[in-house]
Structure formats: C-alpha cells, structure tokens
Symmetry: C2
Subunit: 314 residues, 2 copies
C-alpha cells in the first residue's frame, strides 16, 4: 500500500517510516525540515520504497501538489509544532503548523477520496486535570496551551471530515514520547546543560512535574498494530505506559549515567516548568489494553534507555 | 465601557448592538458584510455611542488595525459562517470565517491586554447525540459538520488563550436562533418557497427533525445578564428554551399564518435535512437556570412570533 507520512523526517515520523518500510509498505515522506532533519531519514534514502518531498503542509499549493502527484491510500499526519514551550510565546506557530496542516491535509484527502488517516494527538487536549485518571470519554477538555488547543481543534476537524467523507481515522493521544532522534524536551535539555556545566543543573519548576514517558518504538508499534481501523469515523485511544517519572528523578538518572556525583540542583520554582505546561497527568489505558496492546518499556525504563542512547550518540 | 461586537451587523450581532447601546455601553461594530447587512444596523447609524468598521476579522491586518485604533475593553465575537448547509460543500468557509476569525481576535486581545470576551458557540459541537440530554459536561464531543468542528476548535483556542492571558471568557452554546432580521434557515426558506408556489412545499429530510428554537431577544437577554463573568478562564453555558419544534410543525404553522389550507408537502427523505445536520438534540439547562435565567418564549412561541414578524415585514 502507498502510505504518506507527513512530518516523516521528524523524531516520531522517521521511526514510523522505518516501521512502515519494514512492513513492506511504500512510503512517501513529506516534511518541511523545520523541526525534522535530513539526518533522521538519511538511512532510508536508497530504499526503493521510500520517497521524500520537501513541502510545508500548511501551504495549500505545496501539500496539494504532493497529493495530486502521489495519491496515497493512507495518510499518517504527524506534522505539528512539537515544541510546546516555544509556542507559548507565539501562538501563531500552532495555528499554522499544528491546526492548518491538519485542515489542508484533510482537504486534500477529501478532494482525492483518500479514506485512511492516522493522527498524532496529545494528552495536552485535556488541560490540567491532575486529579483525574484520563480516559477517552473524560469530559470537559480544557487545553491550557496553544499546542493543546490546536490539537483539540484538529481532532474536531477529523471528527467532521471523517463523518462527512466516510474516512477511517485513527487518533492516538500521545503522552511524552522519547527515544533515539529526540531533539528537545527535558532529557535532551538536561544532558546539554550538564555537558556545559557538570557542577550545576537549573531545573524549571519545582522538579516534581510527573509524566508518563513512552519509548518511541513502543508507540510506533501501537500505530502499526492498530493502523487498519475498518470503521468509518474517528477511533480514539490514549496511548501510554506503565508508571510515570518526575523531573527530579530524570535529573538524578542523567547524573548517574554521566557519572556525575556532586551536581547542585537549583529550581526556578512553581508547579509547572512554564505557563501552559500541565504538571502531572495520568492516563487510564483500559481501552488500548483491552484491544490487545501494552508498552514493552515502563516510563522509567524508557527514560533510562533514552539517556543511555543519547550519551552514546554524542 | 467600550465594547466591540465582531459580526455586529449580522442577525444576532445587530440585536446585541441594540441591547448594549440601550444599556449605555459604547459599541464598535465590526463586520465584513458578507452575511451581515447595512440594513440591520441602519437604525443605529446616528447613535452617538455607535461606530462601524467594515473589516474581515479573518485577515490579520484588517482586524488588527481596528483593535489598534479602538482598544475595546470587551469583545463580543459573533463573526462566523452561520449557514451550515452552505459550508458542507466548502469546508474552507469554516476554516476562514469561523476558526481563523477566532484566532485573530484572540491574538489581538492578547496583544492589547484585553481581558473580556463573549463567544457564540453552538450545539453543533456535540455532534449527533440525539439520545442524550446534553449538558456542559457531556463527554465525547464529536462534531459531524465542518461548522461544529470550527466552533469546537474555537472553544479550544479560548480555553488556552484565557488561561495563558488571564482572560474572562463567557461562551454560550446556542441552539437554533430565530427572530427579526433572520436571513436563512427553515422558517425563512419555507416562507420564500410558499410565496413562490403556494400549492406545494418541498421539505428536506423526513420533516421529523426536531430542535429547540430560541427567540433572539431571549438569547441577547442572557448574554447581557451574564456578560460580566468576574472569573478568569472559560465559563460555558448551554442556552436554550422550553420545548422543541419539528420541521413539519413549522411548515404547518407557516401555512396557517399565511392562510394556506391545501398545501401539498413532499419530502426529500432521510433523517437529516442534509449531511452534517444533527436531526435532533436536547439540552439540559440546569446550569443556566440555576444561575437565574430562563427564556421568556417557548420554542413554539418563538417560531410563531418569527413567522408573524417575517410575514409582516415583507
């Protein structure tokens, strides 16, 4: 089957390209290389089933011409601003890169009668509901970040487009995703900071922010397993892992792996790392577990593996 | 207080301008006159507290310049595509006129530190949930129209912007709104059709589509009553009326008011008037009733008044 991965040169997208090619699918990778990199897909360049287009999916003429040429059967939409902290100071980034990309991609699918979609959503659509176990039917979604708002708006578009055009849409609400090719986030930041100054680490917030971290290969495994929905409309899953890891613990694990024993921590204070960051969330995963999938790695294991790989690579 | 009504020359917006001026507020009316009309606000032209700008709120430079000049304290955002049936064939209308207007307005408010917002949302955000009594905490919102999707996306934006910028946002989810200055919808259509052909009426769907119809002055009364929220974040209410009215009954009432006794009805068939139309919904209004507001007119009374006024006007 001919698949298109929009955002295919990104951190998660490039792992998905790997998995789709390994499963024998043809892959049309579309990326504007604003966050994705040529390095992430360099190893796929010579693969006969792989093709790459440089295109900004928020610009109609650009993305439309790729659809017109390739007419894929399945679209995996992972194009978005993935740096939530950055868009806090410029919501226009989310309007363009997260919401408008979704609208343009759905419009192309509508025009060419493409019926199969995967969409990468996020826990950020819930907003700050730290006292609740979040399931797919949790009410009162109230995003506190522009990123969460643009993703919830995208889900709403997918709901309407899939109904109006008989599309089969699979939507995963991701937790924090980590692993090889990660380019930002707390693990990445702490390692960079400690390489520069091994005696001191500045931690945003109070260090108690606690999230489930999923290993990227576990997440891609879930996408591959559920990608054939066989049901029109939007099928929604929370995808998570066992356990969760707090920021202070991540700092401790990094120091240990780097062999640093006397690092002095300082905290900027407050519950959140930055305004718009949800300090804690907890997924109920009954739905995806009942469907027969579980992550291989716990949150702590995913963090440890990611630290080790990151240190080895550099 | 200086208020801005975006979409102020529209059906609902123009009634809101009337009410704000009557309450002694200053009103800056912004409209692109795509759906709004100069006739709707002609009676306000000489009012010393009234000012009008022709501007498309989805275009940054246009709306931004009005904000830069006027810097209102309160923004009532009623600009949207209000013809759901029309956008079914062109979702881009909703992207531009319903979602992008919201994004641009919120961005202007963020830039100028404007803290008070009213937003006109809709029952269409729920999707087809005809078996449920819809309250503000109903889960699993799944719009089936592009209009409902763009409104739910707008709510998500308001959730994030109000959190990030300490805004006080009042959001009403409107049912069907009718009354003087109505320019489309089932009542308007049926009267036009019967004037052209008094012997026959073609009804979309099976005629059993059943909705609550609110009289526009009741709705504006609720906006005026609750407009001072005194609470940051998004305050959400379902606004509705007692009773509901089906399409066949509307046809009967129009025939009676027009004195037509032998009209033959034909039905296009199917549960919905068009794809994306929700054939029935029912609001739970405990929240707004508990807050001390009730509509004066029932759904049937609102329909009857609207028919009579429409016939008298033409």
């Amino acid at each position: 089957m001919k698949t298109m991965v929009v955002g295919g040169a990104g951190f998660i997208g490039s792992h998905l390209c790997d998995a789709l090619l390994a499963a024998g699918e043809e892959v049309v990778c579309v990326d504007d290389f604003s966050l994705g990199t040529r390095e992430n897909i360099a190893h796929l360049k010579e693969h006969p089933g792989f093709k790459i287009y440089e295109a900004d999916a928020s610009v109609w003429d650009r993305i439309h011409s790729v659809f017109a040429t390739e007419k894929p059967e399945y679209v995996f939409h992972l194009a978005a601003n993935s740096d939530i902290q950055a868009s806090a100071s410029d919501p226009g980034v989310e309007y363009k890169n997260t919401y408008t990309t979704t609208f343009q991609i759905l419009s192309c699918m509508r025009e060419y009668g493409i019926k199969k979609l995967f969409f990468a959503s996020t826990s950020a659509v819930y907003g700050d509901k730290r006292e609740e176990r979040l399931d797919e039917e949790t009410a009162g979604l109230a995003p506190i970040s522009y990123y969460g708002a643009a993703k919830l708006g995208s889900e709403a578009l997918i709901s309407a487009f899939s109904y109006m055009n008989d599309m089969e849409a699979l939507v995963f609400r991701f937790p924090n995703v980590i692993g090889p090719r990660l380019t930002h986030g707390v693990i990445f930041d702490f390692i960079q900071k400690l390489k520069t100054d091994p005696g001191h680490l500045r931690i945003l917030g109070d260090g108690k922010q606690t999230k489930p971290y999923i290993y990227v290969c576990d997440l891609v495994d879930a996408i591959m397993k559920f990608r054939d929905v066989h049901k029109t409309g939007m099928s929604l899953y929370n995808v998570g892992v066992q356990g969760e890891t707090d920021v202070k613990r991540i700092a401790d694990m990094i120091c240990m792996e780097m062999g640093l024993t006397a690092v002095e921590y300082s905290y900027t204070g407050g519950e959140s790392g930055w305004k718009g960051d949800v300090p804690r969330f907890c997924y109920c995963m009954d739905k995806i577990h009942a469907a027969g999938w579980r992550a291989v790695y716990t949150s702590d294991e995913a963090v440890k593996k990611t630290i080790q790989e990151n240190l080895k690579r550099q």
